[in-house]
């Protein structure tokens, strides 16, 4: 009962019912039109014929008297054409015609009557329905002219029945189809909402069923599944992050706590001072990590999107190069810039500068080797309809297969463990790039690492 109620409430069923009503109405209208055209028009036509016959016979009576009238009726009755004639005298006796007696209804006055009469056929006597007009003439004569309407009546009845059944069948089929359609729809919607409930209950691996027909429900399910994929990825990321955060923040906090405890046990002021200084340093480092995490989270949440303005990529690259050039030279390396002019992008200057700073900083930290002098190249160039801002170095690069991993939060390759840092630099670069609708690509610079921010260009040409 409840299922059928639910069925009736579905939008598909309602649509089907509405369609059915419109369909039934139009079928009814068409049949009514056919009925009117055949039955009513034919009836009117035959009535007119009868009327014409009456008036022509009446004229013969006035012109030629009863004798001529009787002759005409007799001759017409003989070529039986389905017409009925009867002429009676003052006493109601038949004088001429092919009907035995005047029907009771036609005893007085004039007008239309319908009556049954007997027809002789090969199989015997049949009762047929007739329609006739009767009118009194002078001297007590009464004239009746009619037609056999049996066939027409049967035809009308047939059309009526057809109309009834056609409507009936349309309604039955329409209802059945509607129910079937809605049940199919309902089943799929039910399975989608069922799946979403299990997902809400915590099973993120569940996916909406896709029937493979590519209809709108499939598209909806597909989109929901994509959304779920992304949520699942984020959730997995979150789990990793929280365990990484736990590790990377707890370690320095434990160290800090132990140091304070140890200092409290000592009596020497110099020891206290040294411990406090180290604690301050450690606190600053923790704050930096924390701030980096916050800005990644904010950037990933897209909160900084409002800060995007039209800017020029080349200028930014030159600014960063200018900021870092002394530092690179101090480290015994060289920094070169290759920036095409007029590369318009839509960006947040602060975030992009921070991303580039992180990349140059990484190059300084990890690319310096004993074998060759450090070379860092900052570049901005057009590639198709994108602007590629790149930081390339000639260091050992990132081992194959690791480039996906290094972007994750707190991930530091073993080689980098000995250097200061928190493993958040590339995560921020990646977050900034996706905020700008671009991608971060880590490539082999042969040798070294080439980190490319592929950003959408806003068409400086156009």
């Amino acid at each position: 009962m409840r299922t059928s109620l639910k069925l009736i409430k579905t939008s598909t069923f309602r649509l089907a019912a509405l369609y059915l009503a419109v369909f039934a109405l139009s079928v009814g209208l068409i049949l009514a039109y056919v009925y009117w055209n055949t039955v009513v028009l034919l009836e009117r036509q035959s009535d007119e014929t009868i009327r014409a016959e009456i008036s022509s016979l009446g004229e013969q009576y006035t012109q030629g008297g009863v004798g001529q009238l009787v002759d005409t009726i007799k001759s017409r009755s003989e070529h039986a054409s389905g017409n009925i004639y009867l002429l009676t005298n003052y006493f109601g006796r038949r004088i001429a015609g092919n009907l035995d007696a005047m029907p009771v209804k036609a005893v007085k006055g004039r007008g239309w009557i319908e009556f049954p009469y007997a027809v002789e056929t090969a199989d015997g006597v049949e009762r047929h329905q007739a329609r006739a007009f009767h009118t009194p003439l002078d001297l007590g004569f009464t004239l009746l002219v009619g037609r056999d309407v049996q066939e027409r009546r049967e035809f009308a009845e047939l059309i009526g029945r057809t109309l009834f059944w056609a409507l009936g069948i349309a309604v039955v089929f329409g209802l059945g189809g509607g129910i079937l359609m809605s049940r199919n729809f309902l089943r799929r919607v039910d399975s989608i909402s069922q799946t979403s409930r299990t997902i809400m209950a915590g099973d993120l691996s569940g996916r909406m069923p896709v029937s493979g027909t590519g209809d709108e429900l499939d598209r909806l399910a597909g989109n929901l599944n994509e959304m779920l994929d992304q949520i699942e990825r984020l959730m997995v990321g979150m789990k990793e992050i929280s365990s990484n955060v736990a590790h990377d923040l707890k370690t320095p906090l434990t160290r800090l706590r132990a140091r304070v405890e140890d200092a409290l046990r000592q009596k020497d002021d110099a020891v206290h001072k040294a411990a406090l200084e180290e604690t301050l340093e450690e606190a600053d480092q923790l704050l930096r990590t924390f701030n980096a995490l916050l800005s990644i989270a904010r950037t990933e949440a897209g909160q900084a999107r409002e800060g995007l303005t039209d800017m020029e990529a080349g200028g930014l690259v030159e600014e960063i190069a200018e900021l870092f050039e002394p530092l690179v030279e101090e480290e015994g390396g060289t920094l070169t810039v290759r920036a095409e002019p007029g590369l318009a992008i839509r960006g947040d200057r602060q975030l992009l500068a921070q991303a580039l700073t992180n990349l140059v900083d990484n190059a300084l930290k990890y690319a310096a080797t004993d074998e060759r002098a450090l070379r860092i190249e900052l570049s901005a160039q057009r590639r198709g309809d994108t602007v590629v801002v790149a930081v390339a170095d000639n260091g050992p690069g990132v081992p194959e297969g690791e480039s996906e991993r290094v972007v994750e939060r707190f991930v530091r390759l073993d080689r980098g463990r000995s250097k200061p840092g928190n493993g958040l630099g590339l995560s921020l670069v990646s977050a900034v790039t996706s905020l700008h609708g671009g991608t971060l690509e880590l490539k082999d610079n042969e040798p070294g690492l080439r980190a490319e921010l592929v950003l959408p260009s806003i068409g400086a040409d156009g």
Binding site: N291, Q303, A304
Partner: protein, 226 residues
Amino acid sequence: MRILVIEDDGQAAAYLLKGLRESGHVADHACDGEEGLEAARGKVHDVLVVDRMLPGMDGLTVIETLRREGVATPVLILSALGDVDDRVTGLRAGGDDYLAKPYAFSELLARIEGLVRRARPEAARTTLKVGDLEMDLLARTVSRGGEEILLQPREFKLLEYLLKNAGRVVTRTMLLENVWDYHFDPQTNVIDVHISRLRSKIDKGFSNALLHTIRGAGYMIRADKS
């Protein structure tokens, strides 16, 4: 200087007040927005230090109200919200400088002193001078002891900022913000390298150094008093 601190956290305020008094300033304290607004209306303070998140009336509202009433006392906003857009809303509300919590006390002090200096109307100077170092802002030349020193445009800007704040501590963050207009922590000693380049240009070969490193705080340019 007389400084009004509007800060609801008792302990944070106590440290701050203590630090300011130890640095030779007079410091008043207000625990919430309404009280702070009342105290600031007196216009006796040289600078206001306003926490952004206060019970009742928040810091930005206090600043907006004061600015509407024509109180022009320089305001330093202190806030746990430190991103660029937070900064922008703070400065738009009428703040003159913005410092994210947690902060180093030396940074706060340097910024307060910078604010007060900026607020005092100064004659449109075309030359800046410390000791025998002279900067001509019109000709964009620098000389020391009558000898011209050639500087890159960025070095010139860096020195100009230092000279405008001569005798005061200028932190790395202040330099990054005011000379490069970057509002993030580059996590490297990139500013130190620029300073040491500048130092080699202006101090090398002279017996008395003008550009000093203030340990744990930043830099200061001053003519040696000794």
